[in-house]
């Protein structure tokens, strides 16, 4: 077993960060375990929170730096590790950096949020790091065992994170919704995996591929079980990326969760889950017999998702819910690129491009909501945003950038992403699908532009609430970085295209 630890340097340093965070918090004065029962914030808890925030923030930056520097050496050739369970090196480097980057942006957003909301910071960041670790291994996994484990490792901490909100009368409701439905979808995923395993006797994705290419089309019962297995896997993963009709948890959970958690879920979790979908359905399983099935499956569910997501977003009063439906619709666009199946690396690249760009867009949109939130004054509804441009011109400006990008208008990165996806459709001769999708992205403009209209052109009914501008730097870092990312890569997209292409090559 030749095992070079350099290939997993990112994961190792993240584990080290988790251990340090755990032990440092444990070394403090013992606290009563059920923190939720006491509402007052003592100075001790506050200093504890501050300490955890610093450790998590700086630690994750160090992890990113370590991976950026040492992991670079691995970005050439990729290797299989731990008996074909993880594929490290190569283009995954890009994906892992993107995920870690999303994690850092989330922590920057959380720093002030956790303080203001007096969320137990150590628990919060621990869970976030666990989820991040799961996402990191998930995009590198090439074994169904590893895929399942990483998926759960990514999701379970988020079930708990969703429940970690203080000033909300409905706390816990969204957490239990996510948990129960997540369990249901995991069961489907596992059932699918077990069918595949039953037919092939292996859990390694690439071996399954080899086996599939040998399957003769005449053996219908085998086809049946394999096909059922793949469909169930599709169901399980479609839940994670929230395609309609597996989406129903999304708005409720996004609304209920703390805003930084929502942003993390909507970008990192979605991107990682999409990486797995690409790995299984577009990258590896090039089984021509299943091509028409999954082509239609993706086209059908993606269209359903786009239509539903964009329509329901129109009637939302709550910005977080609106963004949740928008994130559903965006998952639809990404899945749409997979409709022309076949051995198409450009489609994979388009999806990854969109996914990475989407990190910046959503971080920006949710970041503005975090910026405008203080203690029990949430900024969630359209009324809260009405007329803020006068008082907070910076926040309104970056929010407009986010809306432009989400709406797919130039010169933002969302425009380039959409162009690539539609080009895929047109190359694959999916004209009707493309037209419908385009029509509904016009519909989507309505509610994105509406936010800008509300911010700039409406007079606020009540006076715009004051926010405490103390320790706002981390939020501004996130906002500034995301804005630059969106605009620069919107105008000059080719580096991101190269990165996503490199990552796409890994998924084949």
């Amino acid at each position: 077993m030749n095992f070079d630890p350099i290939f997993l340097i990112g994961e190792f340093s993240l584990v080290a960060l988790i251990v340090i965070l755990t032990l440092v918090d444990a070394m403090r004065k013992p606290v009563f375990a059920l923190l939720g029962s006491s509402a007052e914030i003592t100075p001790d808890i506050e200093s504890r929170n501050r300490q955890a925030t610093w450790i998590a923030g700086i630690g994750l930056v160090i992890v990113a730096a370590v991976y950026f520097i040492f992991g670079k050496a691995t970005s050439g050739e990729s290797v299989s590790l731990l008996h074909d369970s993880l594929r490290a090196g190569g283009g995954v480097y890009i994906g892992k950096l993107a995920i870690i980057g999303a994690g850092i942006l989330t922590i920057l957003l959380s720093a002030r949020y956790t303080m203001a909301q007096s969320i137990p910071a150590a628990d919060y960041y621990l869970l976030l790091c666990f989820s991040l670790l799961g996402a990191l291994t998930l995009i590198a996994a090439e074994n169904f065992l590893m895929i399942f484990l990483s998926l759960e490792m990514m999701s379970i901490p988020i079930y708990a994170l969703v429940g970690l909100k203080r000033y909300n009368s409905r706390v816990g409701e969204s957490a239990i919704k996510y948990l129960l439905l997540g369990g249901l979808s995991s069961a489907f995923l596992l059932l699918g995996i077990s069918f595949i395993y039953g037919m092939t006797g292996t859990l390694v994705v690439n071996d399954v591929l080899t086996h599939l290419s040998q399957v003769s089309q005449t053996v219908s019962s085998e086809m049946l079980l394999m096909g059922l297995g793949l469909v169930f896997i599709f169901v399980g993963l479609a839940f994670k990326v929230s395609l309609v009709p597996f989406h129903a948890w999304t708005p409720d959970v996004y609304e209920g969760a703390a805003t930084p958690v929502t942003s993390f879920m909507s970008v990192a979790v979605k991107l990682a889950a999409f990486a797995v979908i690409l790995k299984i359905f577009a990258g590896s399983l090039l089984f021509p017999a299943f091509d028409p099935l999954f082509s239609r499956l993706f086209a059908f569910f993606a269209l359903l998702t786009i239509i539903y997501g964009n329509s329901v977003a129109i009637v939302q009063k709550n910005v977080k819910r609106m963004l949740a439906y928008s994130s559903i619709a965006h998952a639809g666009y990404m899945a749409l690129a997979l409709a022309p199946m076949g051995h198409n690396i450009e489609a994979v690249q388009a999806v990854l491009f969109y996914g990475i760009g989407y990190i910046a867009m959503n971080m920006l949109a949710f970041g503005v909501l975090v910026y405008l939130t203080y203690r029990d004054k949430y900024c969630e509804t359209l009324e809260d945003l009405t007329g803020i441009a006068r008082k907070y011109p910076g926040a309104a400006a970056v929010m407009s950038v986010a809306m432009f990008s989400l709406g797919g208008l130039p010169p933002a990165v969302g425009f380039v992403g959409k162009v690539q996806i539609f080009l895929q459709l047109i190359n694959g001769k999916f004209y009707a699908t493309a037209v419908i999708a385009l029509l509904f992205s016009m519909v989507a403009l309505y509610f994105y532009i509406n936010v800008i209209v509300v911010m700039y052109m409406k007079e606020p009914e009540a006076e715009v609430a004051n926010i405490d501008k103390k320790s706002m730097l981390p939020v501004w870092l996130t906002l500034g970085f995301s804005t630059l990312f969106i605009l620069i890569l919107g105008i000059l997209p080719s580096p991101l295209m190269e990165w996503s292409l490199e990552w796409a090559k890994m998924l084949f």
Binding site: V235, P245, A248, E346
Partner: protein
């Protein structure tokens, strides 16, 4: 090395614009100055100046013996069959343009330091000016149509910003809007042409497009001409030709250096330049070329006649610019692209000089622009007078000034070329006559005779500071000698080679050139002498009429007959208002707004929006909040997927 050179040339003005722009924004926001106009001016000037020096280095050192330098710093987009590169090229054509633009810009930036002195938003002014140079460089050096288009739009934007620079005066803001809207109409044509070319050629790189039309033109004759005309529509917008010239006279509302730089020397010539860049296309599209020729000629005569009766010093120059641009298009239409560029260059020198001179005059007159109230300024501002006179001699076509060589060659080419025509030649000759007449009318009314303004103004008259006169001298000298690089072989008896022709030949004759009919030398000589005679006639008439103005000049309101027609610019604005603007307004307000928009479209849009909102509402009822309902959706979805699988197999 070469690549970073090109990049530096382009990026330096952008950096200047960015720095000044940020400071202008913070100045306005914080209500305190980080740096004032002096520093801003020097910064802007040094950015453009160093860009000019680098261009000189690139053109004369780096490019000696080489046809072109090209540089692709960035692959912009590469999706499917579409490959867009951010690529730049300096060939001999763009080299000339590059030197003209950066050179004239440097001079005008320098002039602006004195001119804009004391304005509260001078930092903003310099930021815009630098941004304009950046956009212009993109337009010139871009090797692919999208890059060119970005520059094309960029200069339009800067022009809009600068015309409306004093936006607090409503009339100027309206002039800016007019320029922008008229330009947008032209841009639409440009875009249409671009799409047509991409659809047929499959590439947007200019050299590839030319190559395509030169070698294996698989586009039908009809569509080739349509594409050419579409691009030319873009050019008429930017270069102020019939029918889209109406914005340029109004654009004189902007600061005078801006008029000199953007609305005389550089931006308005972009259309001519673009035509020359696409000469491969135009040579394959004779009909389009003929359209260019005729539109150019008509514009030339049309605006030259208007200029005769104008009394606003800048308006005269504006119509003169339109007319000279018409000459350039005539040259291009006759297939003499080299001559078009030659005239472009000489025109840049003398017209910039004229505008800056007029700026100097206006400065001295305390904002007065009406030449009826000037006169006798010669003795108050000698430098301005002399340089203005030099430039006037150049534009009138008196040898050996720059304008003579270029204008004469244009007329000769129109006369002799396959694509030309004798009628157009005649029109051009008359336009040249008018040009000489109205220019000397301007000179005599402004600088000769008695001062006709108020005593107060007379007391105030002074020569402009040296920051303003130095550029005048440079440009004045250039209008004298600028034409000597293109002396026709015939005139020097073949002793001096036509350096300019020789230099541009590889760039604009690569894809074929137009043959001239063979005429004897005597014909050519006589035409040349004829054009000198024409110019002198114009001069003489003007001198007889306006040298010593005794009586009060008539009030334009009391004009009648032809003067009335010309004073009112052939009533084109009014005709446009009546025929296009008013009907559109009427349609917009009365018909569309009241009837169709409020009833039909609003009804339909609101109705469909409302209808769709209903659907959305129904959709959102599915979101019951009940976990088990959600679970049922998942099961339902899974069943749907399985059913789909069975259905397909």
């Amino acid at each position: 090395m070469e690549s970073s050179l090109i990049l530096l040339i382009i990026i330096l003005p952008l950096i200047g614009a960015f720095l000044n722009g940020t400071v202008a924004a913070t100045n306005a926001y914080r209500k305190k100055e980080i740096w004032g106009e002096k520093f801003a001016g020097i910064l802007a000037f040094s950015a453009v100046g160093s860009s000019f020096l680098l261009s000189l280095y690139a053109v004369f050192v780096k490019m000696s013996g080489i046809d072109s330098l090209s540089f692709t710093p960035y692959e912009w987009l590469s999706v499917g069959g579409l490959q867009l590169n951010l690529s730049f090229v300096i060939d001999h054509l763009s080299a000339v343009m590059l030197l003209v633009v950066t050179g004239v810009s440097s001079v005008i930036h320098f002039y602006s330091i004195g001119y804009i002195h004391g304005d509260e938003s001078s930092v903003r002014y310099f930021s815009y000016l630098n941004l304009f140079v950046f956009a212009m460089l993109l337009l010139i050096l871009g090797d692919s149509m999208p890059v060119m288009f970005v520059g094309w739009e960029g200069v339009g934007l800067c022009s809009y910003l600068l015309i409306g620079f004093w936006y607090k005066e409503e009339e100027k803001a309206i002039a800016g809007k007019k320029a922008f809207i008229v330009n947008r109409i032209g841009d639409f044509g440009f875009l249409l042409g671009m799409f047509l070319i991409f659809a047929n050629v499959g590439s947007l790189t200019i050299s590839e497009v030319n190559e395509f039309f030169h070698h294996n033109n698989s586009m039908t004759f009809f569509w080739t001409n349509v594409a050419g005309i579409c691009l030319f529509i873009g050019a008429t917008g930017k270069s102020a030709q019939i029918p889209l010239y109406v914005w340029l006279p109004d654009a004189m509302a902007g600061p005078t250096p801006v008029s000199a730089l953007i609305h005389a020397a550089t931006m308005v010539t972009a259309g001519v330049y673009m035509l020359c860049r696409f000469h491969g296309l135009y040579l394959a599209a004779p009909v389009a070329l003929n359209v260019v020729l005729w539109i150019g000629a008509l514009t030339a005569i049309f605006s030259a006649t208007i200029a005769i009766y104008q009394n606003d010093i800048k308006k005269v120059l504006a119509y003169s610019t339109v007319s000279q641009l018409g000459f350039m298009f005539m040259a291009a239409g006759a297939g003499a692209f080299v001559i078009a560029i030659f005239h472009l260059m000489t025109h840049a020198f003398f017209k910039a000089c004229l505008f800056l001179g007029s700026g100097s005059v206006i400065h001295a007159m305390g904002g007065e622009q009406d030449i009826r109230f000037m006169g006798g300024l010669k003795k108050y501002m000698p430098t301005t007078y002399i340089t203005f006179l030099l430039a006037t001699l150049a534009i009138a076509g008196i040898p050996p000034f720059a304008g003579f060589f270029s204008k004469d060659e244009i007329l000769w080419n129109v006369f002799a070329s396959d694509h030309g025509s004798k009628i157009v030649w005649a029109i051009g000759a008359i336009a040249a006559l008018c040009t000489a007449f109205y220019m000397f009318r301007l000179v005599y009314l402004t600088f000769f005779g008695k001062f006709r303004g108020t005593p107060e103004q007379e007391h105030h008259l002074h020569e402009s500071p040296s920051t303003m006169t130095a550029p005048l001298i440079i440009l004045g000298v250039l209008s004298l000698i600028g034409g000597w690089i293109g002396i026709p072989k015939l005139l020097s008896g073949g002793l001096i080679p036509n350096f300019f022709h020789h230099y541009l030949e590889p760039a604009v004759s690569k894809y074929g050139h137009v043959e001239l009919h063979h005429y004897s030398h005597s014909v050519e000589y006589s035409l040349m002498i004829l054009s000198v005679v024409i110019a002198v006639i114009g001069w003489f008439t003007a001198s007889r009429l306006f040298r010593e103005v005794k009586k009060e000049l008539p009030d334009p309101a009391r004009y009648s007959g032809i003067p009335k027609l010309l004073w009112n610019k052939y009533f084109v604005d009014e005709i446009y208002d009546k025929l296009i603007v008013n009907p559109i307004k009427f349609l917009a307000t009365k018909v569309f707004l009241n009837i169709s928009d409020k009833k039909l479209i609003d009804g339909a849009a609101n109705g469909s929006a409302r209808g769709w909102r209903q659907v959305s509402q129904v959709f959102s009822y599915l979101q019951t909040g009940n976990i088990q309902a959600y679970g049922i959706y998942i099961i339902f979805g899974a069943a749907l997927a399985v059913a789909l699988a069975f259905y397909i197999y």
